[in-house]
Amino acid sequence: MRLAELHNELRELADGVPVDSASARRRVMQRHRAHQRRLRLSVAAGAVVLLVAALTVNRRDGDGADRVIAGPATTLAVRPSVDGRMIPATGRDGTTVRLPITLPDGRRYELRYPDSIDLAALGVRIYTTVDWPLRGAGTGPLLCCSREFTLTYATIAELYPGAIPLASYRGADGAPVLLFHAAQRTSTPSPYTTADYLVFQLGPWVAEVWDNVPASANVEPLDEQQRGTWASQLRAHIDPDGFVVLQPEAPLHLGDPKAVQILIGDTYSVGPYVMLSQFFCGQPESDSEVRRTFVSGAESGVAWCDPAYGFHVSAAGSTAFTKAIADAFEIRELPAR
């Protein structure tokens, strides 16, 4: 076959794919309008949260100690955020900004970067996993119950305004854990756009654990009892830097530490972002510790594997942003609390 023939055959193949553009456009526009409604509601909800926080701040201990939280706790939503990402506090060493970050398993790191870029203002979102390995009757592991999920800096009311939950389960410390369908969410849930989600309010963070996904996803749903177990056993606390630390209790336990991803900014926006993950290093195709720069369309980028801690660092944005990351971005480990 010649290359031109491959071109033609691919196009013929694609032309044969039935696509309902009109329905798709309706769905996109509906979700867009819902997103805009959510933004308007978020402004109102944010004002309420700030008011409540202001009224309650004098009642907080103020000793910097961790607090065990597992349920609605809107009074803790004291950090600013952008599009579901927390804007963390930072410190400075001269012209170097220090951004402490705590992973959901409690590991702590400090990101250091030049003050010519305002990385913290892009906001932080976290992806993590919690495992629940089950074994069938002598037939090996059942893979029904482990889940990977996103931690969003928001309230359930912001993400599902006015939505009536499909079910409610008793969470740790008695707080309710709510079951919603993806369509009830005002912006796109991740990873499945047509699944149900068990939704936890963990202080100012929301954890959305997918369930009952479409048949094509080839995964098993939780049963009623398993949903109840997830609800009651997923505990968390908020550390003094505002990050959520998960403390799942048996049969749940923390997943592979390498599966944690930290996203600063939004990989889908045109603007800048930095993503940290230990999942993408140490493979034959992985980046090396050499900071590899690239250009793609209007963006430039840089990516490498940090030799000290095994984090894959990838960043993209303007040329100046990428250069600042390539020249001076560092990761340092902080002692555990």
Binding site: E9, A14, V17, V19, H32, S216
Partner: protein, 158 residues
């Protein structure tokens, strides 16, 4: 909004079809493509001024699809298991193209589709697939060899 409507009408079908061929999963292709167009709409002022806004959508859609596939890794599909093992394949000559593509490792199939159906340059395919441009080139080379595609000098490497 009219400009976005025109963009949607012009490109949605092509993106879904390309992802369907690349992923062999219609539902995932539609989900990821709608997500990409939704994000384009939310940032339309910025996206519309890109040199190639359609390329942006392809990259975002494929990254969304990869993200969803990664989320399934606790119970990988047969296709993903094949991808993880990264076996060498021998695609029998004369097979219909759909079957020949289906027999490729997923990353080879994705690279071929993005390059020769979506017409993305190697740098953008690398962004979409989360790997280095050199890896894309070697993946394309292997895929074309498996598909028994004859190359002229410099063909397939923009």
């Amino acid at each position: 909004m009219a400009e976005f409507d025109e963009f949607f009408a012009q490109h949605y079908r092509r993106v879904v079809a390309a992802l369907d061929v690349a992923l062999l999963d219609r539902s995932l292709a539609e989900d990821a493509t709608q997500e990409a167009f939704l994000r384009a709409l939310r940032r339309w002022r910025s996206v519309a001024h890109l040199d190639r806004p359609a390329t942006w959508v392809y990259v975002v859609a494929m990254r969304e699809a990869r993200r969803q596939l990664n989320r399934r890794r606790h119970q990988p599909s047969e296709a993903e298991k094949t991808d993880a093992i990264d076996i060498a394949v021998e695609v029998a000559e004369g097979l219909p193209l759909r079957e020949a593509l289906a027999a490729l490792p997923p990353r080879q199939r994705q690279a071929v589709t993005l390059r020769f159906l979506a017409d993305l340059p190697v740098a953008d395919i690398a962004r979409a697939m989360g790997c280095r441009p050199g890896t894309v080139k070697s993946t394309l080379h292997a895929a074309l060899a498996n598909l028994r595609v004859e190359l002229d000098d410099n063909e397939g490497e923009p």
